[in-house]
Each structure stands twice: as C-alpha cells, then as structure tokens.
Amino acid sequence: MSVQGAPGSTQPAAALKDAEGRAHYALRQLGQSSWLISVLAVVVALVVGAVLILAANPAVQSTLGYFFAQPGDFFATSFQVIRDAYSALFRGAVFDWQAPNAQRSIRPITETMVNSIPLILAGLGIAIGFRSGMLNIGGQGQVILGASFAGFIGYAFGLPLGAHVLLALAGGVLGGAIWGGIAGVLKARTGANEVIVTIMLNNIALFLLAWLLRQQWFTQSGSNQPQSAPVDESARLFGLLGDGFRVHAGFLVAILATVFVWWLMERSTLGFEFRAIGENPQAARTAGISVGKATALVLIVGGALCGLGGAAMLLGTEHRLTPGIAGTIGFDAITVALLGRSKPLGTFLAGLLFGGLTAGGVLMQAQTGTPIDIVLVLQSVIVLLIAAPPLVRAIFFLPRPDGEPRARLRRRRSKTDPPRDDADPGGQSTDQVPDEHHQEQGSHR
C-alpha cells in the first residue's frame, strides 16, 4: 500500500531529474502521489456524470436537434444544466448561499455529517477487514443486526439517561460482532470463504428482521405495520447543535471510532497481528501469530463497527426499526473503505465525501430534477479509477512512475512484460485473500 507514496531512493531520483528536466520530473512525482490520483478520479467521475446529465436532459436534447445550425445553443444550454446540477450538489452538501437565513445556509454541511456517520463507522469496519486481507461484504447484515439490537434495547428497556444510550450502543456493537463473528469463526475453523458467508448472512439478516418486525414481543408497537416502537428519549443520541439541525452525538462516536481504529491498527499488538495475516498469513503463522484467532477477531471487530454504525443511525436519526432500515449502507461502506484506502483518516474523509454526495444529491434532485442515482455512478467511477491508477495516468497523459517515456515503453512492452507496480495499491493487500483461502481449501483434499 505504501508503494505509491514512497519516494524512490534519492540517488536514481536525482539522476532521473537531471536527465528529464524539471517539469517532467514534477509531473512524474505527481503521478505517483495517491492524492492526485484521487482528485483526478473525482474529476473524471464528475465529467462522466455531466455527460449522463446532459444525455438525459430534454432541453439539451432539443438543442442537439439543430446542433449544426446553431452549436452555440447546445453549449450554452449544456453549461447551464451542468452548472445548475453541480452547484445544487455543492449547495446541498456544504454551504447553501441561496438559503433564506444563516441557519439554513449552514444546514447542508450538518446534513452531510449526519449522512456520513453510519458510512464512516461501517466503512471503518470494512477497512479493518481489507487491511487484514479479508473482504467483508456483509456490512449490510451487520448494520441490520446492530440497529436491531440497539433499537430493541432502546425501546424495550427502561434505564436512566446516560446508561440507556450507552447500553443501546453496546447492544449495536454486540449485534454486529455476532453477525461478523459467524463469518469469522467459520473462516477460521473451516476455511469457509468469508465473501460468500457474509453475502448469505446479509440475506438471512434481512429475512430475520422482516420476521422480527411481525412479532409483537419484539416491536412493542401495537400496530400491524412492520415497524417497531420508537426508541425512548433516554436512549437517543443527543443533538449537537440544538433544534433545526439533525446532527447528533453519533458524529463524536464516529470520530472516536476513527481514532480507535487508528490506534488499533497502527499501535496495538492485535492490529499488528491483523496486518500481518493480511500481508502474509504463512509468515504470520511462522512468527507465532494464531492466524485462526486473528482471522475470527478481524471479522468480529469489523462487524462490531458496522453494528455500531447501524446503532448510531437508529438512535440518532431513524428512531424506529423498519424492514429497510439499513438502506444500502453496508454496500456503500465497501466503496467508502476502498476510497479511503482502508486507512482510518482516509475512510473518515471518504465517508464525509459520500455523505455529502448523498445530501447534495437530495437537493439536486429537488431543484434540478436530476435523479439522485447519479451519485451512485459518481461513487462507483471514483472507486474504479482509484483502484486502477495506471488508467488515470493514461487518461491524463501523466508519465508512468518508473519514469520511462511512453514510446519506449510501448516498444519494450511487445518484448517483455509490464512492471509489477501497475498493480492496484488498494487491492494489493486484499489480493491475498482468495489465494490463501484456496490453499487452505486445497489442503483438505
């Protein structure tokens, strides 16, 4: 993962600099830096989104009808449409300068924070898995279980103010940890592929919640609607900015969780073991790490964070359990973790970005009629491009990090192979998963 960011040794770097001249060297340095790739990926995604918005816009379509007679019309209308859409996206996500009062103008950024809370928490859970070489696709199920446990504690138990919310959050952690733990223990003990187990657990969680919401002892709502009673006031996460804003203490939980995950992965023994089994399970085993125990713990901790995300969402904003409580958070969290390159701070920022895209998408849909689904396209294009830095470099004609001019490289490529560092930095750690799994499976034979 550090391949991209790490500068080469100074000796050849200096030599290259002399040979190519300053401009090219600077460009190549830029091409290596991961943040530039991220920014360029966002740019490409916005361009792709713009093309889609234009293609679907009736006004633009009508100007296309007489494009050759008056091309100016087309470009003017297109510019107008794109500016409206993206400015609405920005105003909905960060700061609305068209709002009637100050409170309404700063509300968008707080909505972004609200949206990002479950994304950050679940994203951190998935990111721990990625760092440890495990693909946890089961965020969805873990979020559902976390929300269910937290909700049940929230409305079924009567407890004093502080203890109630803490216990409900702990219940969310427990629920997610159980669901993640099933996959973790099965992988550790039988080598069951965690991707398949977690996908299945997602569906089972969905049916389990649907069943629970039909049981009176669980919902305590006294209605026939498939929804639970609202959680007690004492179990709700308190608002941070008072009335008129939805942002709640869950954001503090997300910050604390980010710091905790940083400490866990970078400073603790357990985190070292997690990373070790992700880098090389054989070496980890040789070094005396119990690979099975660490594998199970990775998914338990990851599931716990996803469950906490579900709990924070339920106790902070939703308050009632419904069959669709988890939305698509579990899947969005995967893209958040990928975009954040599985680092705590990166995941935090990626969660904010995706939360902002969702918040802005709502305003964009309301004001310009551009469907919020465009946000999914933006998200997926960003993540795809960030996973394939060579593609981004090719789009922007940036030099390759090994400093070889493109023409010579093309000539050489016909004879030999492309260099290995083309591989995706985000995927490198996870490449090991299927490999290691197959070896375990194979040895059963």
């Binding site: 099965l186 991707v195 398949i196 649907a210 893209t335 995706d424 490449d431 998963v433």
Partner: protein, 432 residues
C-alpha cells in the same frame, strides 16, 4: 492402448485398499436421520387428526385430467415419515458398509420430505395446494438464477471471480426492456440483452486482467455502477416517455406439441418461452463443453494452473477475457427474463439481489453446470413454496422458509455438505 490397461490394473487394488481404510462417513446418515425424525415428530405427530390435505395436480390442457387429490393428513404424514426413516436406515447401512448410495437416494429423500412437509402445512386449512403452481413458480424464480450461475461457472472456471452477476442481470433486463420497447418486439430485446451483460463482463475483465485490480472489488463496484446507471436512465429517459422507451413486451409461450400435455411436467417445463428453452440448451451444452471440449479444457486449465497452461501455449489472459465476456452475455440473457421474459416493464433494481444468490447457487453446485442448476432450482423451489404457503397461511413463518437456502449455502461453504473446492487460480491475476 497398453498404457490405459496398465492404469486400470493398477487402479483396482488401490481402490480396494482405499475402501478398507476409508473411515465411515457419518455426516450424511446423521443428517438423514435428523430429517426423518423431524418428519415423524413434527409433521406426523403434530398433524391434526381427522384433517385432510388437498393437492391440485392438473391443468386443463393435459391429456387426461387428474382430479384434485385429497389425503387424510395424519396417516399420510406417518407413511411418508416412516418411508423417510427407512431411507435414513438404508443410508446408515450403506455408510457402515462403506458403500456409496446412488444419486436417486437424496432426490427421493428430498422429494418425500418436502411432500411430508406440505401434507403437514396444508392440513385442515381447507385450501388446495396447487402443486403445478408451486413448480411453475419454482422454475420461473430459478431462471435468472440458473443463467447467472452458468455465467459464474464459465467465469470462475477460467479464473475470474464474478461478483458482478447482479449487475449483468440488471443490465440485461434494462437493455432487453429498452430494445424490445423501441422495436416493439420482445425478440429484439432478447437479442440485445446479452450485449449488456457482455459489456459489464468486459469492464470486469478489463480492470482485473489489464490493471490487476482485485476482482471482487471490481465486481462490487460494477454492481453499484450498473444500479446507478440503470436507475438514473430509468428516472429520466424511461419515465419521460415510457410508451417509447419502456413499453411492456412479452415473449410468447411456445408449448411444445406433445410434451406440454404430460400431466404436471408438461405445463411446468414445456409450456415456456424460448428463453427457458434456451436455458435448457445452455445448461446441457455447458455441461458437455466445459468437461469434454478443447475450449472447456483450456478454460479449466487457465483457472486451475495458469502457468502450466501458458507453458503449453495457451494465452491465459486472452482465454480469460473471451470467456468472461461470453459468460457476461449469458447473464445478460438471463436478465431479459425479468422484463421481456415475464412481460414486465423495467423497474429500478429489479434484479433484487438475485445475482448474489446465483453466485451462491454456483458454489453450492460446485462450479459444475448441472450442480449449479440443481442448486438454483433448490433456491427457486424454496422461495416458491414460501410464497404459496404464505398465501395459504402455515405454521412456519415464510421468512424462515426463505432463509433456508442461504443457511444451506453457509453450511456448504463451511464444508458440512460435501466438500467445496473452487478453481485454484480463481481471483489471482496472471502476471508472467
């Protein structure tokens, strides 16, 4: 010729030696015994006395009409339960003798168990259990799963993990609906659908073979991309003028003359659209070609040991590229079932997670076309029973029934039901 005889001569004693040394396999007899006990203790004992269960077997177009069968619930459940107990005992006997049972055993056991369950579930409710409806529903629910699972088999046998089956199904459904609507012909939609699936497959293989991006990550993200694209176009273009872009077109049912009049089987299997007949053909052809053709051998070799395949002159990455795109076209064709196959207009996210279930069916079927077919049918059947029973009203919550296939899949990958082994080089990019 001589080499062949030599190996058989050598193999025979080794087989016997293995038979002597092999430990008794308790797993299956115990599973059967538990199921037989459940059927006796729950279905037979708890079936209300004096009550009856009605089954409707016939449709109006059969050669001869079978009247609705009414059976006394409790005695029938007892008979079925005892039959299951006998079968379980047989399994136990064979296990102790260390001999294998035929394929018929699990099939008969499963069928009797389901029948015992239905007798119990329908007891004394005054409702008729429409068996033909259950089976037709099962096949209909299985069609996209089967196409998706075939896509998975071809892709993964050549070493590319395909999580994007979901996206391929959805893209196929979308393009089929749009093309059929534009040309006012369901068959045009059927022709267009594979291209959508193939396009998603091409993206998958482009990122995973050229840029070595982790295949599971590409698959997950491609699903999001396809959901986003189709939902966006649906909310804009398709809803602006649905009569042009999203008008309903249905493939007509083409009953096969004589076969379609066989009672029970006929209306279920042979009164279908061309898409379902194509599915039969694809499963059979894949089963043959994956294991008996040069194409299949090459595909499996790059999935199992790409280096060895490369050494004998097979272009690994080209083989993977072609096969993954071909696999995508199969899934795209399956997606057409959601729209033109059922005569529905396109709706947002209408594939509803079926691609992931197809993936599970493929694994449960051990990366084998016919195995995947059976697994997909199991998923479809349990969903269909769940749907029918939830309208009749049963003692078991329908959500629990719907969970069963997923739980079975978890047991399968955890190694409790047989051994599941994926292609060895699956998910590993080939870099020379």
């Amino acid at each position: 010729m001589s080499a062949e005889t030599q190996t058989t001569v050598e193999a025979a004693p080794r087989e016997q030696a293995e038979a002597r040394l092999r430990p008794i396999r308790w797993k299956f007899p115990i599973t059967y015994a538990i199921l037989a006990l459940i059927s006796l203790a729950v279905f037979a004992l708890l079936a209300p006395a004096e009550s009856q269960t009605q089954f409707r077997l016939a449709t109006s177009t059969d050669f001869f009409t079978i009247p609705a069968i009414t059976v006394p619930s409790a005695p029938t459940a007892w008979v079925l339960g005892l039959a299951l107990a006998v079968l379980a005992a047989l399994a136990l006997l064979r296990a102790v003798q260390r001999r294998r049972l035929g394929v018929w055993h699990p099939i008969v056991f499963g069928a009797l168990f389901v029948l015992a369950f239905l007798v119990w579930a329908g007891a004394g409710r005054g409702a008729v259990i429409p068996l033909v409806t259950v089976l037709t529903g099962a096949l209909a629910l299985s069609v996209p799963l089967i196409f998706g699972a075939m896509c998975g088999v071809v892709g993964e046998r050549s070493g590319i993990i395909n999580i994007a089956i979901e996206g391929q199904l959805l893209a196929g459904a979308f393009l089929a609906a749009v093309a059929a609507s534009l040309f006012t012909s369901a068959y045009v939609g059927l022709i267009a659908a594979p291209f959508a699936g193939a396009a998603v497959g091409a993206l998958l293989v482009w990122f995973s073979v050229k840029y070595h991006v982790n295949q599971i990550i590409v698959g997950v993200v491609l699903n999001v991309l396809v959901i986003g694209l189709t939902s966006f176009l649906y909310s804009t273009v398709l809803t602006q003028s649905p009569e042009i872009w999203n008008a309903r077109q249905q493939l007509p049912a083409l009953p096969i003359p004589i076969l379609s009049q066989i009672p029970i089987i006929g209306p279920v299997m042979f009164n279908q659209t061309i898409l379902v007949y194509l599915m039969y053909a694809i499963v059979i052809l894949l089963q043959i070609f994956v294991f008996k053709s040069r194409w299949g051998l090459r595909m499996r070799s790059v999935g199992e040991h790409p280096k060895a395949a490369d050494t004998v002159g097979i272009n690994v990455n080209r083989t993977r590229t072609i096969n993954t795109i071909f696999a995508g076209s199969i899934a795209g064709l399956g997606g057409a079932f959601f729209t033109v196959g059922q005569g529905l207009a396109f709706g947002q996210e209408m594939s509803a997670g079926q691609g992931f279930i197809a993936l599970a069916a493929m694994i449960l079927g051990r990366w084998n076309p016919v195995g995947a077919l059976c697994a997909a049918l199991l998923f479809g059947f349990s969903t269909s029973i769940g749907n029918v029973l939830s309208t009749i009203g049963t003692p078991v919550p329908s959500e629990m029934l719907l969970m069963i296939p997923y739980i079975i899949t978890i047991f399968a990958v955890a190694g409790f039901v047989g051994r599941v082994r994926p292609p060895a080089a699956e998910g590993v990019p080939y870099i020379k």
